[in-house]
């Protein structure tokens, strides 16, 4: 007996004195319960403070299965109101002994009101935050979307998720084993901190114009897709960034929706003749040529016996061409002759200096560096291929950056999407803008501008001319890379340039992916859309015309009289929106579905 008591006494001493703290902690941990309090997600604004994405509290319909009288009848009544499958509802309503089952998340106010009118026992509502995109389908691929847990999945929502999300709070309470709060016990309340608002540099109106001018042209040229972007040369602000997909067997052409790729910063393509800007600028900068240097340019040139010769786009006899002529007529052979004056390393330095092969300053998820051959692998022809835009793969924003550099007097102007952040107190914090660096001299930049004005007034880019404003730009038509080789028929057609060329304000880029063969050239397919977008931007921002007499425009009209330089304006927006609503109904773009504006069923964007 004494021994038993002795053992018990030892055990008591052990529990109370030696392990007391441990068991106290365990008891507290078992009784303490953390209730998370979600933080409200920050909003996304355009540059004018217009809402592009915001969180709105909606009602979520739930059931207490223990209080539901007739699950089957309730499911039948609820299904058509909340637009949820009756079988799913029945399963949720029958989930005893659970006292909480979700029926429909974040329903609209009219749906919630309709459910309340049914007055069904066991059915209740809890507030839940829903992400709303009031300007949808505008900039769908750019803004992205959030998942069911409220986290960013793609686009801006993903890129700035860490600052948009805020900091969740929590309520810590002590509860008994049945889950009831124990009065007068430990209770801690950590307030949730609202997410920071993000103000983009995007201009909602210009974004719309860019998207639908591009959509019109993609449809008109039967392209597989297209991309466009507009940058403010004076600040580096990205004002518009559009992605459009063409008609597919499963649906009509449309603006890219959340989940689709934001092509200007993610899709690689061979830039083609737009790269001639870099080749010629570098050659001029390093004293290899001048604007007036003359070359004897045949129709084709063979740079190595083992490879096929390079050709110009159209046959011509051997002729004398100045550097400006080579640029104006986009002569491959002439550009290769200029490249012959440069070393391999110089060619590689040129494309690197203009930002090719390096991610842009836009910190976009999944943004590629681009592909470039190192000079050691140029072998016979890498230098020449690079000079005319082959052998390199770039993103649209990289090429636009090269043109912005020339427009900005030879100094890079890093593009950026984030204008500012606005914290929970409402204080605005402008985003840091990367500093530019000089690539070529002012004199070289001015020379390049003058030569590119010739491209528009009297060359391949005549369709880009704008009345009242001088334009500088370059066309590009490159063979598309398919299955590891250049296609013989499919092309990437592009036009990149800036305006007014004498006082550059905006630089823009339009690229069409695989237009129909009759529209394969950038000058006739991409340039008209570029012109329309740029003209809209200039007028929208009240940029004063600097060519009132329209000298360049009239010249270009004479050159382009045999070309169709207008955007056909054939996009049936009602069909596009209807398709996107249908896609949203399937759940692929659920967050963008509620915001589509209704248009008359039989109207297009333009007449």
């Amino acid at each position: 007996m004494i021994a038993v008591f002795g053992v018990l006494a030892v055990r008591v001493v052990h529990l109370q004195l030696m392990s007391g703290d441990y068991y106290t902690r365990q008891a507290v941990l078992q009784s303490l319960h953390k209730i998370p309090i979600n933080a409200e997600r920050g909003s996304v604004f355009d540059r004018e403070g217009r809402d592009l994405a915001l969180s709105v509290r909606r009602s979520t319909v739930y059931a207490d299965p223990t209080l539901v009288v007739d699950p089957a009848a309730t499911a039948v009544k609820l299904a058509p109101v909340v637009h949820v499958d009756a079988q799913y509802l029945l399963k949720q309503l029958s989930a005893k002994p659970s006292r909480f089952a979700y029926l429909a998340h974040t329903v609209d106010d009219d749906v919630a009101a309709a459910v309340k009118r049914l007055n069904l026992p066991g059915i209740g509502f809890v507030p839940e935050s829903k992400r709303s995109y009031p300007a949808s389908p505008l900039a769908g691929a750019l803004i992205g979307q959030v998942g069911a847990d409220g986290g960013g999945l793609d686009g801006i929502e993903y890129l700035y998720d860490s600052i948009l999300a805020g900091k969740p709070g929590e309520l810590v309470v002590e509860q008994d084993p049945d889950g009831r709060d124990i009065p007068n016990t430990q209770r801690t309340h950590v307030v949730a901190r609202r997410g920071t608002d993000v103000m983009l540099t995007i201009d909602q109106t210009l974004q719309w114009e860019a998207e639908y001018a591009l959509l019109d042209q993609v449809q008109a040229t039967q392209a597989k897709g297209g991309m466009a972007a507009v940058v403010d040369v004076t600040t580096g602000d990205v004002l518009a960034m559009a992605t459009v997909h063409g008609t597919t067997p499963t649906g009509p052409a449309g603006v890219a929706t959340p989940g689709e790729r934001n092509a200007p910063v993610t899709e690689l393509f061979a830039p083609g003749s737009t790269t001639k800007l870099i080749t010629l600028a570098w050659a001029i900068e390093h004293g290899k040529i001048t604007q007036d240097s003359t070359f004897t340019v045949p129709y084709s040139i063979k740079v190595d016996p083992a490879v096929k010769p390079y050709y110009d786009a159209e046959w011509h006899p051997k002729q004398q061409m100045t550097t400006a002529d080579i640029m104006r007529q986009s002569s491959n052979v002439g550009t290769i002759e200029i490249a012959q004056l440069m070393h391999n390393q110089q060619m590689a330095d040129a494309v690197r200096a203009f930002g090719l092969g390096t991610r842009t300053s836009i910190d976009w998820p999944g943004q590629p560096d681009g592909l470039m051959l190192p000079p050691s692998q140029y072998y016979c022809c890498g230098k020449y291929a690079t000079a005319i835009g082959y052998g390199v793969s770039v993103t649209g924003m990289q090429m636009l950056g090269a043109f912005t550099t020339i427009a900005n007097d030879g100094v890079t102007r890093p593009a950026h999407l984030l204008g500012a952040t606005i914290d929970a107190k409402g204080d605005r914090h402008p985003a840091a803008v990367p500093a530019g660096r000089r690539v070529v001299s002012s004199a070289t930049a001015r020379t390049m501008t003058k030569m590119m004005e010739g491209v528009v007034s009297d060359g391949t880019g005549a369709c880009a001319a704008i009345p009242g404003y001088p334009v500088a730009g370059k066309t590009g038509t490159s063979k598309k890379q398919l299955n590891g080789a250049y296609s013989q028929s499919a092309t990437m057609a592009s036009f990149i340039g800036y305006a007014p060329s004498d006082h550059p304000r905006f630089a823009a880029m339009v690229v069409l992916d695989q237009p129909a063969p009759q529209y394969q050239f950038g000058g006739t397919s991409a340039a008209p859309a570029w012109s329309e977008i740029m003209q809209f931007a200039l007028l929208q921002y009240g940029v004063a015309p600097t060519d009132p007499a329209g000298e360049q425009f009239h010249k270009a009209q004479a050159v382009a009289k045999n070309q169709s330089c207008s955007v056909p304006h054939g996009a049936d927006l009602a069909n596009v929106l209807a398709h996107q609503r249908a896609a949203a109904a399937k759940g692929s773009t659920s967050n963008a579905s509620g915001a589509t504006a209704s248009l008359p069923a039989n109207t297009s964007r333009r007449n």
Partner: protein, 153 residues
């Protein structure tokens, strides 16, 4: 002499008759006043007690009423916040390009087939005829416009 001295009152001050000390005795307080004071004290304590209780109850009531008011205001703030969110969303939706174009279509508006530029003639000095041909903009006008645009694009 001795008899004469005894017959006449002494010129010397005679000490008063000594009264025996009665320390165990004192003036008895007035019983009536004592009772009155005790009664007042009791009344005062009772009054203070009641007053304190009423004050406590009053505070409690005011506290409860304030809690109700706070709850009502909290609910009101939540409702107003919800209303603000709804209105903000509604404004954003109505002012989106798609909605504006839709509304314009509803009003029968159509896109202009082309845009025309109208050039204002340069301001003529007094006594001269304004030029009929459009004058190019002065070189500084762009700079001025650009500065203004940079400040408020």
């Amino acid at each position: 002499m001795g008899a004469a001295a005894g017959a006449f009152p002494s010129r010397r001050l005679q000490p008063p008759d000594t009264v025996p000390a009665r320390d165990h005795l004192r003036v008895a307080p007035d019983a009536r006043r004592r009772r009155l004071r005790a009664r007042l004290l009791m009344v005062g304590i009772a009054f203070l007690t009641v007053a304190s209780l009423f004050t406590l109850v009053g505070f409690r009531v005011v506290g409860a009423q304030s809690a109700f008011t706070l709850d009502r205001l909290t609910k009101q703030r939540t409702n107003e916040q919800l209303r603000y969110e709804r209105l903000r969303e509604d404004v954003a939706r109505r002012s989106s390009p798609a909605a504006i174009i839709s509304a314009a279509r509803g009003l029968g508006m159509v896109d202009a087939p082309r845009q025309e530029f109208i050039w204002a003639p340069k301001a003529a000095s007094q006594g001269t005829t304004p030029s009929a041909t459009p004058a190019p903009l002065a070189p500084t006008s762009y700079e001025n416009a650009k500065q203004a645009l940079d400040q408020n694009p």
